[in-house]
């Protein structure tokens, strides 16, 4: 195996991690000097933690890049070469669930929800509903690639459903639902599931790989918005 492949693009990743952290650090230091004046040891601990997460993120992103993207693509290609193309749909269901299950920002969000609600909204509830939502929409996305359905036919009704649900879901779940849409499209989905879609689209005949492979991410962003609001609705009707 080519060892150099493991370090491919490491510099670019390191630069972007540093860039993402700098604004927060600058504000922290500025505020500390101007008016917060927290104990030095406290600020030092914050800086240590931030550095730790930067190193961790670098490892994580690099691992995802070299391992998960190419393998997702390999799975997509092998499914696409099956005689029965519809098998991609159950594959999408399973892999969509598991990928979201492993998405770090989803975990952070669900923990914060449990904390902010003082434990009344269990983090596992939110986690399951986000994963289930993504699973269904990845399956739909796979069907879309096989049968060449235009993206708007799914997105417009989807977003309309989201707007309708807005008026019925308890407001605690509304904000969380839209945030969940943001975190579900994290680095795991953007590499593994994107690779899956691109791999499948590349073997389906006569299809623009980019157009059909890329739309999957937009579906993943929509999925948890609908499923978490649906969870809120379900919890409310049960309480009544």
């Amino acid at each position: 195996m080519n060892v150099a492949a493991i370090f491919d693009g490491l510099g670019v990743t390191a630069l972007s991690v540093a860039n993402a952290l700098l604004p927060l650090l600058a504000f922290l230091v500025l505020f500390q000097v101007l008016f917060l004046k927290l104990p030095k040891s406290y600020v030092f601990n914050l800086l240590k933690g931030t550095l730790l997460s930067a190193v961790g993120l670098l490892f994580f992103l690099q691992g995802v890049q070299i391992g998960f993207l190419p393998y997702g693509q390999a799975i997509g290609e092998s499914i696409g070469s099956f005689p029965y193309k519809w098998v991609a749909i159950p594959f999408g269901l399973i892999l969509g669930f598991l990928t979201t299950w492993s998405e770090p920002a989803v975990r952070i969000l669900t923990h914060q929800v449990e904390n902010a609600s003082a434990g009344s909204v269990r983090s596992s509830f939110v986690l399951y509903s986000v994963c289930a939502g993504v699973a269904v929409f990845v399956a739909v996305g796979m069907a879309r690639i096989i049968y060449s359905i235009p993206l708007l036919y799914i997105l417009v009704p989807g977003y309309a459903l989201a707007v309708i649900l807005l008026w019925f879901t308890p407001k605690e779940f509304m904000s969380v639902a839209f945030d969940a849409g943001g975190v579900a499209t994290g680095p795991m989905a953007n590499t593994f599931l994107l690779g899956l879609g691109l791999g499948l689209a590349s073997v389906v005949e006569g299809q623009d790989t980019i157009v059909y492979g890329l739309g999957l991410v937009a579906l993943i962003a929509l999925a948890p918005i609908i499923s978490v609001m649906a969870l809120g609705l379900m919890i409310r009707t049960r309480i009544r």
């Binding site: 993402a20 650090l25 505020f31 931030t50 550095l51 992103l61 190419p70 945030d179 975190v183 890329l214």
Partner: protein, 231 residues
């Protein structure tokens, strides 16, 4: 600290293991990818687990408290315009740095053969995020209903999607998804919670969250408008 480390390691393993196990099963039944690709996946998985443990530990002890401190400090001292300006800047800066945004805008440049230049797309996306993060902050401070802001934005997205040239539609939706990466998410969540925790009568659950959701609808609208303008 040691307990936190053990808990985090356990949680990360629980999160990643199912996916890895399924991939290993697939490798020997369906996929049969070249050994190189499979080995690279296994090495990648180990890096992912180690990286995530550090990352989540750092988030817990560093980023979340830091974001809350900054968010809370803003409300103590800041006039509303200062809070909005800082929100705008943080939204803008974190988006420009987001690796996924760079990848997307590079792809768009190549696919459209330069009609959508890489730099201008990056800035349009970043302004979209920044504007909406600032608006979400304004909402927390002024206290109007999240539903109005969200419904308004999403109806606007639906309406715009009928007027925007087809290739810009998927580009716009994808721009919305790439902005909220692994690092932006905790920073923005922490800021929102910090801000809402300092304001009386705000529930952390319905007021602290929602920033990220708005941060992903911002670029969709911005890129759609860009598509209409260019055509």
């Amino acid at each position: 600290m040691l307990k936190l480390l053990r808990d985090t390691l356990l949680e990360v393993t629980r999160a990643i293991a199912p996916l890895v196990i399924v991939v290993i099963i697939l490798q020997f039944t369906v996929t049969r990818a070249p050994t190189d690709v499979f080995l690279q996946f296994l090495i990648g998985a180990v890096m992912v687990i180690a990286g995530l443990v550090f990352f989540l530990l750092g988030i817990e002890v560093g980023i979340l408290p830091a974001g809350k401190v900054v968010g809370a400090g803003l409300t103590q001292r800041g006039a509303i315009w200062l809070i909005l300006a800082v929100a705008f800047l943080i939204g803008f800066a974190t988006t420009i740095a987001e690796p996924d945004v760079l990848v997307l805008s590079k792809q768009a440049d190549t696919i459209t053969r330069g009609t959508v230049p890489q730099n201008s797309l990056t800035y349009v996306i970043a302004i979209g995020v920044a504007f909406f993060v600032a608006m979400a902050m304004a909402r927390i401070i002024l206290g109007f209903r999240m539903a109005y802001l969200l419904a308004g934005s999403y109806v606007l997205v639906i309406v715009l999607s009928f007027f925007v040239p087809a290739d810009f539609v998927s580009l716009a939706f994808d721009s919305g998804s790439v902005t909220t990466g692994a690092l932006t998410a905790p920073i923005v969540i922490a800021l929102g919670l910090g801000l809402s925790s300092m304001l009386a009568g705000r529930s952390g659950l319905s007021d602290g969250f929602g920033l990220l959701g708005l941060a992903s609808v911002g670029p969709i609208i911005a890129v759609m408008i860009m598509g209409i303008v260019i055509n």
